[in-house]
Symmetry: C2
Subunit: 288 residues, 2 copies
């Protein structure tokens, strides 16, 4: 443990405050900066040092964790500051393009740069439940890994600075899709008088089971070969038609089933009806 | 084990053949019937008896498992047959309304009736991996449970004959949604040069993690109360906008993200922005 390594936190929204508090709890000398200084009061009471300026904050140590509203705020605040020789870990939410552009911007100013995404809520920060994704040069991640681990489970995804943002939104798409599919089923079963607590263990077992198929299906996607080992897309599409009809008959929303069916129908029209579901990668990989 | 109980299988498509073969392997005297008798050749070689008529097939024992193309085929074939006193287990795919109507039809003809849905592919039949859902009178299921367990993991969902069909399509919606969300992420990451095998363990951990939240969220749905313990729907919707923009920038399909965002936006417009994701049950529970 090198938990005497000094750290700087720039941006003290709810998440920034949680990050600073986790560093303090882990024993790191912690310098904070925020446009509205009062946001630092609680942290200062807990031992943080409030920097009078961004330059002063950056000068406090080799590592600065940035957590602001958006990338524009990062540029507005740090352009012209003394970032040379520092490592910036930018946990601000943004796109992969913004992350790559910020990396170039920081490197042109003599800083090392890691982009990151926090897959956790503020109250989980500082526990292993808080997964924090990082992308950028591996050596820069390794140099600060044990410090970053004070914030949660620190993961390095690759050298491409855009990866943290991409994995983040891809993960959120999975999260919302599972929740939505579960709500779809819960709405259908509720129409038959079954409450969500009764239906949910079934949905949960199914989700875990399907998750287990993904590595095998990934092989199909990477090979670009989709033999129907389990079922053909045509069989799926027939069952999708049942699902849509059932939703319409029950008077529940059918938009998600209709979208699934529309994408399968397009792949079938393109000649893939005898292949297996992952052949839909060809539909997902291009704009409508 | 009462695996000397005689069973009848009506309908010898791929699935019907698998069902009959599983009964034979478990030692049940097995009578089969199919419109095209040649489909029974292999089963007869393995010890099945081919009935010369549907009435003869139904007369062979107390339990007949039916697996035909659709419910119309069930009615066309069995209307006027000697089903009185028999228990029919209808594993034909159809809607909850068709299942309930078939139950009334069979009961009017003096038969006991269970509806069912097979959540498995033919090659899994006869293993515990084959989950077979049943709905209808519990006593009728219990009377034949040990026989039905020769086909897979036999589950009873409730007395409403429509439940097997509803759980089946709700489960399929979960399956397709997870596969689609995973393909969405795989398409996004592939645009950044990451292959599916590299991305997939991340998606898999996330899916299993989110599945674990469902019971807690089910409590919110059943209470009709959605306090934002984790995040507000407004926070989700902002991240959904990032996801949509990222898909458009990458040139990958954005329809699934756009649908998720449209449903969240509608719930926010209805005043639920400060509540939590499961409040979307109100959108899923009504037609667009």
């Amino acid at each position: 443990m090198e938990n005497n390594a000094p750290v700087t936190i720039i941006g003290l929204g709810l998440m920034g405050q949680a990050l600073a508090a986790a560093f303090l709890r882990a024993g790191h000398p912690t310098t904070v900066w925020n446009r509205t200084a009062a946001k630092a009061d609680r942290l200062v009471a807990d031992g943080a040092r409030l920097a009078p300026s961004v330059d002063d904050a950056l000068a406090a140590g080799p590592l600065a964790v940035i957590c602001l509203t958006d990338y524009q705020a990062v540029h507005d605040l740090l352009d012209g500051s003394g970032m040379a020789g520092r490592t910036l870990v930018n946990l601000t939410s943004g796109s992969s393009a913004q992350a790559r552009e910020a990396a170039r911007w920081a490197e042109q100013r003599g800083a090392r740069y890691l982009d990151g995404a926090i897959m956790a809520i503020p109250t989980a920060i500082g526990t292993t439940d808080a997964v924090i994704l990082h992308s950028g040069p591996r050596a820069d991640f390794d140099a600060h890994r044990s410090t970053l681990e004070a914030l949660g489970t620190a993961t390095h995804l690759g050298a491409d600075h855009g990866l943290a943002s991409l994995y983040d939104v891809a993960g959120l798409a999975m999260m919302w899709s599972i929740l939505s599919a579960w709500l779809q089923g819960a709405a259908m079963l509720r129409a038959a008088g079954v409450d969500a607590a009764t239906y949910t263990p079934f949905a949960q077992r199914l989700a875990v089971g399907v998750a287990g198929w993904l590595p095998g299906y990934a092989t199909q996607v990477d090979r670009g070969s989709f033999p129907a080992e389990v079922a053909t897309l045509e069989t799926d599409a027939r069952a999708m038609a049942h699902l849509v009809e059932e939703c319409l008959a029950l008077g529940v929303n059918a938009e998600l089933p209709e979208l699934l069916k529309a994408m399968a129908d397009r792949a079938i029209a393109a000649g893939h009806g005898g292949e297996q579901y992952p052949v839909l990668i060809q539909e997902f990989a291009k704009p409508r």
